[in-house]
């Protein structure tokens, strides 16, 4: 049992199971899954579906945090991607009453993702080439990005009428939600990349000791740039899922506060903010925990506002537990000069 407890994913998994259990106790039928309208249906499926955008963003954020960075612009990038796609798809009625899109769907989606990737690259350049602190470098895009998105939409919410656009956020493949497939495939692709190439090793080396990694000949700068670029791409993908789900692009509220949720998901999953060792599975679990928490609060009849306070307390607790000074305090030792400060 002790060996099981020491496994990295033990606490996140336990937390998730506990939350599901509490929800099931208070809400009979919470665990029920049925087959309706040609796909699986139930609270659990709902949680998985709603968590998909957060999972995608958290995957990108995990790698950025692993190299000792941070990206708080992901919400703004989501909004930009959603807006670009919605504008390009448009949707007008053709002669025979069908809705046609302004540009081919694949092109619109590709452009949206390209713009999002460019945003990630921008962040990476500021951090690696200009040497700016990650918080501030990404703060700039966070501030200006929403402005750009709102400029493109003229402050309006862009509604999309073209049905194929809705598949990503509302469709089902083989009974499971499409968004979930996208998140799962992205996760799988990353895991393959990490296990088949030296990427995982290099990221852990850079995050664990950037100077040592550099001395060992690892191209830290180029890799960090790639990581930020990927984070932008992930944010773009999440933006597409969200806007497809609500069938519109809202430059103001798309992805609002999502960056904070993503950071929380990553830390809950066990990746330390100080960088180095990371776990994608942990971040996925963290995202699921957050979504389950939201659902549980909703189903308990507790006002959803409580969500924020609970998340805050969770972050405080996780941070404290990750702090060596706090752990030393708990263990009853304090010796001056333990941590270099």
């Amino acid at each position: 049992m002790k060996r099981l407890a020491r496994h990295a994913l033990f606490w996140p998994t336990l937390t998730l199971l506990l939350l599901i259990l509490v929800s099931a106790i208070f809400h009979p039928g919470f665990l029920a899954i049925s087959w309706q309208n040609g796909h699986l249906f139930g609270n659990l499926i709902d949680i998985l579906n709603r968590a998909a955008p957060l999972i995608v963003v958290s995957l990108g954020m995990t790698l950025v945090i692993a190299v000792r960075g941070l990206d708080i612009s992901v919400g703004a990038v989501m909004a930009i991607a959603a807006v670009v796609a919605a504008l390009m798809v448009g949707g007008s009625f053709s002669a025979d009453g069908e809705v046609v899109s302004e540009h081919p769907l694949w092109l619109s989606l590709a452009c949206a993702l390209a713009v999002a990737t460019a945003c990630g690259l921008w962040n990476g350049l500021l951090v690696v080439k200009a040497g700016m602190q990650p918080i501030i470098a990404t703060l700039i895009l966070m501030v200006a990005g929403r402005g750009i998105a709102q400029l493109l939409t003229g402050g309006q919410i862009i509604t999309v009428y073209y049905p194929p656009f809705f598949t990503l956020g509302n469709g089902h493949w083989a009974g499971l939600p499409a968004a979930l497939w996208v998140a799962a495939l992205l996760w799988l692709a990353l895991q393959l990349l990490l296990s088949r190439t030296a990427l995982g090793l290099f990221i852990r080396a850079i995050g664990g000791n950037p100077e040592a990694a550099r001395v060992a000949g690892v191209r830290a700068g180029a890799l960090t740039l790639c990581v930020y670029t990927f984070c932008g791409l992930a944010a773009g993908l999440a933006g597409l899922i969200v806007s497809s789900n609500v069938k519109s692009a809202d430059a103001n509220s798309a992805g609002q506060l999502l960056e904070l949720d993503a950071i929380l998901a990553v830390t809950l999953g066990g990746t330390a903010l100080t960088g180095g060792r990371f776990t994608l599975a942990g971040s996925v679990l963290g995202a699921l925990i957050i979504q389950t928490l939201t659902s549980m609060i909703y189903s308990l009849g507790v006002p959803p506002e409580v969500n924020l306070v609970v998340k805050a307390v969770l972050v405080f607790l996780v941070m404290l537990l990750q702090s060596p000074d706090f752990r030393a305090l708990l263990a009853g030792l304090t010796r001056r000069g333990n941590t270099a400060r």
């Binding site: 190439t197 030296a198 080396a205 060992a216 000949g217």
Partner: protein, 508 residues
């Protein structure tokens, strides 16, 4: 009080950090009206001892007794630098540069600002602050605009301002950690004049430096530390320079004869040649060349520029001038990954900071440089990493519970071997080893030295930096002696330790 009474007595001070015993039963006796030198190599424990005396670290064991103003000897336990200053212990630390964003006057008076009376508005009296600072600096023979930001000043002036600050506090014990490292002769004279004045007033002065001539010029007694332990306390008059260097670097008894070493072929062209290599403020222009299979020793004391030279060779730091040729071809490595591709390797001096990635396993640490050279795509799967690592672990005798243990859990010696294994895996043409045997026990040291010899025998050129002159003399084919960030000279194989000491201790 100028009677040589013991002002500070430290006994049996020990302090450990995770993985290293920095101080082990060290004692120190400081007397009123005396300048006492604290000497030892890098890692000897001098800075740690000073930090214990000034309250930055709490000792694990040991006691400190201070003679207070009424003549009573009391046990004290400084809780912080502020507390130490209140007790009368003042220090100019090695890394405490001044605060670059504040003025010189502020740096000198910070924490003890003169105040304007409430009737005149309260707050800090800047005019008085500036006046006091000017006065203190004048005592050191410096005349400058004290309202200037400290950051823009030359290092020498900053250092003297730091001394002025320490002196201003009416201290009983004054600790100066490498105060002269950026001063010219004139400034050193002024500083020493101040120290003599303080000595007359009965202050006990602890003086850390690596300049031997300065020790003999100003100090009365010397305490020598080595590898965290106390070697001895000597009167300056009774210990000459060579004896002092010998005490600092130690004479290790050799248990077994060294492995045979085939000297490099005389006619072979150099595998690495550097001309005019320099970096402003770090290294004066140096020429160096090394042949395949040759062991080039770099000898010199702390601060002589050996590590700086190594870092420039490996492109860890950008060079201001100089040409590097590898295998006869001009090369321009811009960063370590270029140097790696050229066939160079580098084991840094501070393995904790620039060597190991503590959370990664032994296997991954060993495979890291080879993987970096192979790039992202051609991945050494864990199985291949394991095979590589196991072979090297066996060859070097690395003691580890398993190949997957986080390297941070290994002892210093085994960590060092693992880093060397990392570079061996890349089969380098030239391997630079910066203090590979530091902080390692005698047995492991022996094994490492044999490894280095075997490496050279197989055709790799080795640049071997060590503060233990005896080691360098034993294995090197040639010795390049460094002093004060410049090349002092070269010695051939067979030159004894005395010759090296002589070249280091001061040129005639």
């Amino acid at each position: 009080m100028n009677d040589g009474a013991i002002v500070l007595q430290a006994r049996d001070i020990s302090r450990a950090f995770p993985g290293v015993q920095a101080l082990n039963g060290v004692g120190l006796t400081l007397r009123a009206g005396e300048v006492h030198a604290l000497m030892g190599q890098n890692g000897a424990g001098k800075s740690t001892l000073i930090k214990v005396l000034t309250g930055v670290y709490a000792p694990d064991a040991g006691s400190i007794e201070l003679l207070d103003r009424s003549g009573e000897r009391r046990a004290v336990s400084p809780q912080s630098p502020l507390h130490a200053q209140e007790l009368g212990i003042s220090a100019v630390h090695q890394e405490s540069h001044l605060l670059p964003n504040l003025s010189v006057a502020e740096n000198i008076c910070a924490g003890r600002y003169p105040r304007r009376p409430w009737t005149r508005g309260g707050g800090i009296d800047w005019r008085e602050t500036n006046r006091r600072a000017r006065e203190l600096l004048a005592g050191l023979g410096i005349d400058l605009d004290v309202t200037r930001l400290a950051g823009g000043l030359p290092a020498a002036v900053q250092q003297l301002a730091a001394v002025a600050r320490a002196v201003a506090g009416d201290a009983r014990v004054l600790i100066l950690d490498e105060p002269t490292s950026s001063l010219d002769a004139e400034e050193v004279r002024a500083l020493f004049a101040l120290l003599r004045r303080l000595r007359e007033q009965g202050v006990a002065i602890l003086f850390v430096t690596h300049f031997l001539d300065q020790v003999y010029e100003i100090c009365d007694r010397i305490t020598v530390l080595r590898n965290g332990g106390f070697v001895g306390e000597y009167a300056c008059a009774k210990l000459d320079a060579r004896g002092l260097v010998a005490a600092m670097v130690g004479r290790e008894l050799v248990d077994s004869p060294p492995a045979p070493h085939t000297p490099a072929s005389e006619s072979a062209p150099p595998v690495l040649a550097a001309r005019n290599l320099s970096r402003r403020g770090q290294l004066q222009p140096v020429d160096l060349e090394i042949k395949p299979g040759e062991i080039l020793g770099l000898a010199g004391l702390l601060g002589s520029g050996r590590t700086e030279l190594a870092r420039l060779l490996f492109a860890l730091d950008p060079r201001d001038s100089g040409e590097i040729r590898v295998g006869g071809q001009i090369a321009d490595p811009a960063d370590p990954s270029d140097a790696l591709r050229l066939g160079l390797g580098f084991c840094p001096e501070d393995r904790k900071h620039s060597g190991i990635v503590a959370e990664l396993s032994v296997r991954e640490n060993i495979a890291l440089a080879l993987q970096a050279r192979m790039g992202l795509g051609r991945f050494l799967r864990p199985a291949a990493q394991r095979e590589l690592a196991e072979k090297l672990v066996a060859a070097l005798g690395i003691k580890t519970a398993s190949i997957d243990t986080p390297i941070g859990q290994l002892s210093g010696g085994n960590q060092q071997k693992a880093i060397i294994a990392r570079w061996l895996a890349t089969q380098p043409r030239v391997l630079i080893l910066d203090e590979p045997t530091r902080g390692i026990d005698v047995a492991a040291k022996q094994e490492l030295m044999n490894e280095i010899l075997a490496l050279a025998n197989s055709g790799t050129a080795v640049v071997f930096i060590s503060a233990e002159i005896e080691e360098v003399v034993r294995v090197a084919d040639r010795i390049l002696v460094m002093r004060d960030r410049a090349k002092a000279g070269e010695l051939p194989r067979g030159a004894g330790e005395d010759a090296v000491f002589a070249m280091i201790a001061g040129g005639q």
